[in-house]
């Protein structure tokens, strides 16, 4: 299997923003990501992302004077962006490979990983779009009809949403069309479903689960929980990967895959 160059992948990922059809149809079947370089890129950009995000959204640059606390202006929070960058790619890969395994779509694990990287590139561009908030463009607060500890749950809509969500939806739709010939409505539906699940369930999950854990007396907040979610994500990715990679041994890998999926479901239900 040919190891693809990270430069080529980044170029393709950025091109996909403008020409998703061309790029999604060019995902090689027999190539694999350079996982070492990928990890370095994801982590590094996660750090850059954190700096740009804090500056654009909260008006501050993270500094070493911040404490190593789990709370708002803590350095742990910066580090969650580093981990979050990796987990974003990882979860997209898990979602795609689980879907294609479940639906028996002709997409290899490596192709799922590559497609997930292209989706990650859209996420990676978000803080650059958010820089327009520095020039006075306001953010919007969207209240969800849900209460957490008697407080309404709200999402802060920043400018990059208007960039990332449509682009991600189009990329997913094009991916499903060009790879599996899904009908347009089906492709749009699955694309939007994945986006909604990612933003409203996966990303919001700590907001739900952290207060419950805190109520048990565990001093953990939502940012620390992200780490736990990341670990679950890694386990799930590994299981699905091994499963799709041809080593279809039900007792071990199947059980691991199901266990992590149940773990996710438990979190969501809880």
């Amino acid at each position: 299997m040919t190891v693809l160059r990270i430069g080529w992948l980044v170029r393709e990922g950025l091109t996909a923003v403008l020409r998703p059809g061309r790029v999604m149809a060019r995902i090689p079947a027999a190539g694999r990501l350079p996982y070492g370089w990928l990890l370095v890129l994801l982590a590094t950009w996660g750090m850059v992302y954190a700096f740009l995000h804090f500056r654009a959204m909260e008006g501050v640059w993270p500094t070493v004077r911040w404490s190593w606390s789990w709370h708002h202006a803590g350095l742990w929070r910066v580090l969650t962006f580093v981990g979050g960058s990796v987990v974003n790619w990882l979860m997209a890969a898990v979602a795609l490979s689980t879907l294609s395994w479940w639906r028996r779509w002709p997409l290899s694990v490596a192709q799922c990983d590559i497609a997930a990287f292209y989706l990650w590139c859209v996420w990676a561009l978000m803080p650059l779009v958010d820089l327009i908030h520095l020039f006075g463009v306001p953010t919007r607060v969207i209240f969800l009809p849900l209460m957490i500890r008697e407080s309404p749950l709200a999402l802060i809509a920043h400018a990059s949403w208007w960039f990332a969500f449509p682009v991600l939806a189009v990329e997913l739709c094009v991916l499903f069309r060009s790879r599996f010939r899904l009908p347009v409505l089906g492709a749009v539906g699955i694309g939007l479903g994945l986006l909604a699940a990612g933003r409203l369930v996966f990303e919001t999950l700590p907001v739900w689960t952290a207060p419950r854990l805190a109520a048990q007396g565990w001093l953990i907040n939502e940012w620390a929980l992200n780490t736990l979610h990341a670990l679950l994500g890694i386990a799930q990715w590994g299981c699905v990967r091994l499963w799709m990679g041809g080593q279809r041994r039900w007792p071990v890998i199947g059980a691991g895959s199901v266990a992590t999926a149940v773990g996710w479901a438990a979190f969501v239900v809880w």
Partner: protein, 375 residues
Amino acid sequence: MASWVGCAPGRDARRGAWRAAGLVAALAAAWPTALAADEQKLARTAHRRGVAFLEQAQLPTGEFRMWACTDEALKDCAMENEALITATIAQGLAVLPGGRAEKVAQQAANFLMSQMAADGFFRYHLKEHPLSLEQPPTLEDTVVNLMMLEALGREVPDVTAVLKTYQTIGGSFHLFAFPLADLQGLRTDPAVREQLSLRVNPAFVELLDQTEPVANANIQAYLASHGQASEPLCTYLVGVAQQGLPPGYSMFYGSPYAFLYAASRAWGRGATCLKPALSEFERRLLADQHADGSWGSVLNTAWAGSALLWLNHRSASLERAVAWLAGQQREDGSWAREVAWSLARPPLWFGSEELTTGLAVELLARYLMLREAER
């Protein structure tokens, strides 16, 4: 010339007439050469642009793309992960050694090497495809890919001996490298079918005992290139040709020229037992050529023109085909996507710009090689 026209009939006039006739004859004799020179220039330019297109279309892994479409117009398509198309294109690129074409072909060869099993066999789908483990190796893919790798100087196993174990009593081969003994009762005994469904994906069970003429011609080409051409297989292929290649002659290929190309190549590689059918191949190819020099489409023209070249045919037909083909080339150096083969169930049509371009490039390269050799 003007003075001759004005001459009264007489000895001088007759001499003049003879001289003029000689001049016309000389011009006529020189015409194909002049025409060939033009066509060579055209062919060289078109070949260079076609190679440039393939170079930029090749994926970093070395593979080329193929589309599987739900409509014959090849509009509603999804990617098909298979290796045969890469070998088919690389074969055309490898005709003229050196330069960018060889570089692209070598990269394709790297990709094919990564797809080859230890015993030298290939499956239809790539190793990474979810169905790959559920299907037996395919004979056509194996021989075409191996021929291409051998042409590029790669060390690959010689599978002739194993291949012959899959030959039926009638001389032909089935689609898959699957033990013939295990297929007994496939059509009559449900238990056998059920048993086979446990070994291979049910979608492939129906195909296990199927025979396909173009695949068999390719197998003959491989055997012949190893000095092992099979007489019974020739008998089968000649029989197929004698039936006139009507629509539906092949379960995959709609075009008769796909068979004529593969069979001519088998002969060109040393399957001398095909000789009884050669004149019929040539007659059919020349008779079917349209006035514009094509055989109706780019793919057909590429197959038919290359078949004529494999048959060592020399005539202005080739120049006309090359000129027409060059005229169909698009701005980016490619030729448009056309249906190369299809499946009945589920109904799918396969083709890609890369495949059409690869086959067109092969015709141009063979034509240029012939003209270079003549010079």
